[in-house]
Amino acid sequence: MVSAESRTTCSVVEGEIVCEMVVNGEPMKGVAEPRTLLVDFLRHELGLTGTHVGCEHGVCGACTILIDDQPVRSCLVLAVQARGAEVRTVEGLATEEHLDPLQTAFHEKHGLQCGFCTPGMLMAGTALLERNPDPDEDEIREYLSGNVCRCTGYMGIVDAVKTAAAARRDRATTNGNRA
């Protein structure tokens, strides 16, 4: 039953706030209500649907992104809180030509099945490797313990992070030698 009050046009709701932030190195702008979650802003206002919503209460980690290099659950942050921030999401990891070493390792080590936790895992894994280039298995498991994967039993994911760490070190060595 259609309400008599139904609207055919979408007007800007009073109280919406313009949010500007740098996302994956690119300045971006959109509007959000004060209550809009950052993950919803990224997905539905900026069209960056790679970041996923799994629980909306900060447990599953599917929405993990980096804000000013810190891993953050974007379902626990309001869009307005991220104004002026440097945000990194899964869309920023690869170029069309090249996956980054962590993505490549997830592919090689079967670190994903349905792909839904993958963006959050990749961002948490990126944060780990930026802090600790040589994590052991326990450190990897502990760091990723806030990210739920329901498909893989974590085996391929842990293996992939180890593999990527080695690949990153090799690459750093190669670059260092070149320099």
Partner: protein, 788 residues
Amino acid sequence: MTEINNGNGRQTRYVGTRVPRVEDRRYLMGRGRYVDDIDLRGMLHVAFVRSPHAHARILRIDTEAARALDGVVAVFTGEDLADVPPFVTAIARDDVKPVTRRVLPSDKVRFVGEAIVAVVARSRALAEDGCELVEVDYEPLAVVVDPEEALRPGAPELHEDVPGNNIAHIEMENGDVEQAFATADVVVTKRFRSGRVIGAPLETRGVVADYDVGAGQLTVWTSSQMPHFVRTMIAPTIGMSEGTVQVIAPDVGGGFGLKAHIFVEEALIPLFCRRLRKPVKWIEDRIEHNLASAHSKGMIMEASVAASRDGTILGLKGHYIADSGAYSIYPWTALIDPLPAAGCLPGIYDVRNVKYVVDAPLTNKCQTSAYRGVGMTSGHSLRETLLDDLARELGMDPLELRLKNCISGEPYRSATGLPYDGGSYRECIIKAREMLDYDAFREKQAQARSQGRYLGIGFSPYVEPCGWGSKGAQAIGFPAQFYDTVSVTVEPDGSVIVSSGSSSHGQGLFTTLAQIVADRLGVKIEDVRVVDGDSTRASYGFGTFASRSAVVHGSGAFRAATDIRDKLLAIAANLLEAHPDDIELQDGQAFVKGVPEATVPIAQVATVAYFGGDLRPADQEHSMSVTRHADPEPEFSNGIVACTVEVDIETGLVTILDMASVEDCGTMLNPMIVEGQVFGAVAQGIGIALYESLEYSPDGQLLSATLMDYLFPSSMDVPHIDTAHFETRSPHTENGQKGMGEAGTIGAPAAVLNAVADALSPFGARIDRSPVRPEDVCNMVRGAVVAV
């Protein structure tokens, strides 16, 4: 049966090898397209008012204030949808009562979380604001949450058409069970309550519907494992023909069986879309998911085993009472847990005297559904923990007891009528014993005990029905037809499209089906593209569940590719002036055996098929597309999950030390994917054994609706898992493969539970429930009896 070391000795190029998945790239780049990623111009959003009562009459619904809210476009109640035909869950058995469910109830609610009113608004937030303004007056009714209570005379009744609440009472007996028990030296009995759990894929359910008024065409995107079947079901509900409805399961973020059903929301969102002539979206939030999608595996069970003093099992009895919830889930019915649990009562053991009873009473809780392993998980935990009890009773080693009663590897018909197609039942047990270094562990365990530390070891060998074709479903008690179709098309440039009735949601079917077809046609895997999960673009099928895609879709793909191969051979033979029998297809080339210079690219053969004029043999039609069906005989994978644990008797904490999984799924199409399925399934089994439980209060309130209360195993809880493989090819499938993917969830809980009981054997511990949480461990240590 052969033990496999990384797929050596293969004749084929892709099947049997660790081909990296072709579907990974878009997921890794964040370019997957899940239902919530669909954004249509002018799209409206739905939120539901859900019942706060477990059982109540609806007296009045006032939607005035919600309708008046700025941004709310429409509000729907059951009254507004009175003309919509209800869901009727029925199967072709006289002993199973049909249960009716209106898409929105107008008379009464039957569980906390049942949708009553839908608010449609310009945004999800506004729809939720609208829900806040809906007022519903209820008359609370007596509640029944316990399935045994629900069976008692005088219990509150949920449905007028199911007096007494029980949708089915089923009994089966083979052999002479009473005689077996009367003559036994030992009888051990166990009552076991398996907790309610939930498949809980990381992506919740979600539906988007879009109606094209000009074409009269409805498109529905739903996070489902069975899009064709969703279409078959919802088309009549929304009053359209199947040909005008396209149901698409886009990327699906996990399913685990939960999404292998048809839900009322999958009819409601298209109905709203049709009525409002606007695209409509509903994305389930996590609390809705836990409250109102579907729960699984909760049962009260009792089993007895009769044995002679030497450990020979003489008879088995089981009673399985489902905790069905408020409706009998469409399409499987509430028997989806208890009936497979009962059918698997004998497991891998040679027991001819077997009797079971199944009851499926309705309760004022969320409906119950399939979840990885269905009721076999609970039934298996019951049997395998019972056998460890028996071993302790007899003073016999639990592995010796199992090996003594284990069936041979030959095809075997179980006392419950399941036609096992042969396996490596004994070999898997022996392998697991080696992997965990059993004898050394027993020494370590004894030493630890002398230091006040409690280690334990548990074994859980399984046989798993898989494939879910018509005969397999019938054997388990679900008489209906389940087949699937697969089409293979060679395009003019030689690239290949496989269109399958499957619906991949993480299993890597775009890779495995491409492996099968690429091998058959001699083309490169990158030239094969698989399309599924779409009722219009893909060939008809029942979807992906019950470990069926490798066997059903894999066999269909093999057959269709074989027919197309014959056409390629005929055309190539004409081009190479040879006989088709002498042509080989490999590495994208057609060539005459033994004449390497007589070669033509398969791409060119395809071009000739389409545009070749006289070069195409006159007896070959232009069509380069073939559709074949597959409905294989039942297959049965087997294996074992085993682990060691340490139990802290002060805190009750269980730590898994080593975990081993040995499985035999016939030919492994892709060992990497097989192992990935094992790991994931075992992890979910660990959750079932130790963490996951949906708890209800006596008045039917769900106490674990968030992920703060409902605990998923984390990367800290799931240990490294060692795997080994045996390969007993199925005689019923085209490559010898059997289905797999569920066994870890069937087998792992009992492995963990048996290990805990073994660790706590000095305290006389007996496992009678899952999960076993720290408080349960502490109770066992104290010898406190807490009834289940």
